[in-house]
């Protein structure tokens, strides 16, 4: 079989993800032990076995209302940010970019805050988040290409920094004009980033576009290899560069913008996960994209578990991913800098 190696890695990663997910369902302020969980599942799914109704209701509530939506959301957002990061890196032939660095997350948070200010509609919040996420990446690219014509790794990163700074300031204006008793606290709390507010129906609503865009990126993965050689080589090898680039950027922006709508700005995941996966299995996007999705899901789930369990109060997830991500990225930088010149 041709893709044995790929299948092996994907299976291994999925298994790890499943174990982390199971532990996340069981662990928390109320610990559920394995045997109780098995009894619960047995009764819930097959109406078999013995479980007293009080325990059943309690566990049913904890799992369905609190832990399962949170687990699913963590996996979904981790996957969204990591695949987007990998795709942005290929599209711009630049291993230093990510949804955060390109300004997408800042743009999306500005858009989402606008939405919250203007309307109660969940859909409008999502649409504005995506629209401004897209504007932000466009602005970053524009600034990056203004100074030099040639593709410059550093200029694009600087463009992203500027774009992110712009939308962060615009967001401050929104905060300034927002009603300090209702809208402002909502915006601030949401921006800090937390998965704790997740509800199953909300997760399902955002899951559809995120899963669609991740699937799209997986299906396009063979083109990302060619695009990461640069435009000319990709064209000469038969790629419709303009089409692939615009579709890929839209999908990556959609997935990462929606993560902002659900849980605020979660930085670093989109930057470090593709690097870690690349170091483990090589740069071929056929494996990199799907594997980043799974590993990213597992990573964010783990980070969320730490944020819930480490202290008696919950640490915002965005803070935690930065604290974990920064040292990892320093190691990555040290190992990989030779290839970036």
């Amino acid at each position: 079989m041709r893709y044995k190696k790929e299948a092996k890695y994907l299976l291994l990663a999925t298994l790890t993800l499943a174990i982390v997910a199971l532990l996340s369902l069981l662990w928390g302020q109320y610990q559920i032990d394995m045997s109780t969980f098995v009894e619960y599942l047995n009764y819930k799914l097959f109406s078999k076995g013995e479980i007293d109704s009080q325990t059943f209701t309690l566990i049913d509530n904890i799992i369905l209302e609190i832990r399962l939506p949170r687990v699913l959301l963590a996996i979904l957002l981790g996957a969204a940010l990591s695949t987007s990061g990998a795709v942005f890196q290929a599209m711009f032939v630049n291993p230093l970019v990510s949804p955060g660095i390109l300004g997408v997350l800042a743009g999306a948070s500005f858009g989402a805050a606008c939405g919250m200010l203007l309307s109660d509609s969940w859909l409008i919040v999502q649409v504005l988040a995506f629209a401004f996420g897209f504007v932000a990446v466009g602005f970053a690219v524009l600034i990056g290409s203004m100074v030099t014509n040639s593709r410059s790794t550093v200029m694009l990163v600087l463009g992203g920094v500027i774009s992110a700074a712009l939308f962060t300031s615009l967001l401050s204006i929104i905060k300034y004009v927002a009603d300090p008793y209702s809208t402002l606290p909502a915006i601030v709390y949401w921006l800090m980033g937390s998965l704790s507010m997740a509800q199953l129906n909300e997760v399902a609503f955002v899951a559809i576009p995120i899963l669609l865009s991740i699937t799209g990126m997986i299906f396009m993965s063979k083109y990302f290899d060619l695009m990461s050689l640069g435009d000319e080589e990709a064209k000469a090898l038969g790629v419709n560069v303009k089409l692939i680039r615009i579709v890929a950027i839209i999908l990556a922006t959609l997935a990462s913008s929606l993560s902002v709508v659900m849980a605020g700005i979660i930085g670093w995941v989109g930057l470090i996960i593709p690097h870690i996966v690349r170091m483990a299995v090589g740069p071929s996007h056929r494996l990199l994209i799907p594997l980043s999705a799974i590993v990213g899901g597992a990573f964010l789930l783990l980070a969320d578990a730490i944020s819930r369990l480490a202290l008696s109060v919950e640490i915002p997830i965005g803070i935690l991913t930065s604290l974990i991500g920064i040292p990892i990225f320093i190691i990555v930088l040290k190992n990989a800098r030779a290839a970036w010149n």
Partner: protein
Amino acid sequence: MELKPIISVKDLHFSYKNHQVLSGVNLELYRGEIVSLLGPNGCGKSTLIKLILKLIKGKGEIAIDGKPLQNYSHKDIASHVAYIPQYNNTPFNYSVQEMVVMGRVSKLDFFALPSAHDYKVADKALQKIGIEHLKSRAFGQLSGGQKQMVLLARAIAQEVNVFIMDEPVAGLDYGNQIRLLELISELGSEGYTFLKTTHYPDHALLVSSRVVVMNGGVVICDGAPEDVISKQMIEDVYNIKADIIMHDSHRRCVPIFERKREAI
């Protein structure tokens, strides 16, 4: 029957930021030829190649297999012509096998992944060039010569007849330059068609069936290597003196080293 050119270029113009790069270039490439494009820096050689590959757009007529270039998508072009660029490092370090398999993408449907057949074609291409031992190595860690060999293998995996090379020996050490020229000559005798730019009139004499010289955005000579590469041409185009000598039944171009040279 009249022979039809694979690639024909008629009255091609191109300007970049008010600077006229090409002003009326005509060129035809026939099956089985090895054509060397000579000319000083900035004469428009690389621009011409990019225009033929539709990487940039100019004014004039270009046709591949008799059909105007406008009617070709990049995918169509890639199934007629393979481009072997001067290697540049990508920040993502693919293996040699992955690099060569990328030559197969133009043959695949939109959602299809490279199949076992595509990998077989890639492996055969590596064997043909004699570098199958490099298959699992990282492309970025290869020497310049090995990289050019890998890109040639990728072109072979594209299963096309025409190879366009932009200064294939640039940056290679002396031995690798000669070995690459030998390889091009060998592939040429198997029927592959080459259009390559070069800075070395001597290389053009060694490996070409035809030489085209460009200067100032136009073609100034086009013909058999022994007719085109002369003392006079070298002096006119490069502003140096050279001798054309016979060595081992080959014509060679040897530049004359003058100690007192006017400033370059």
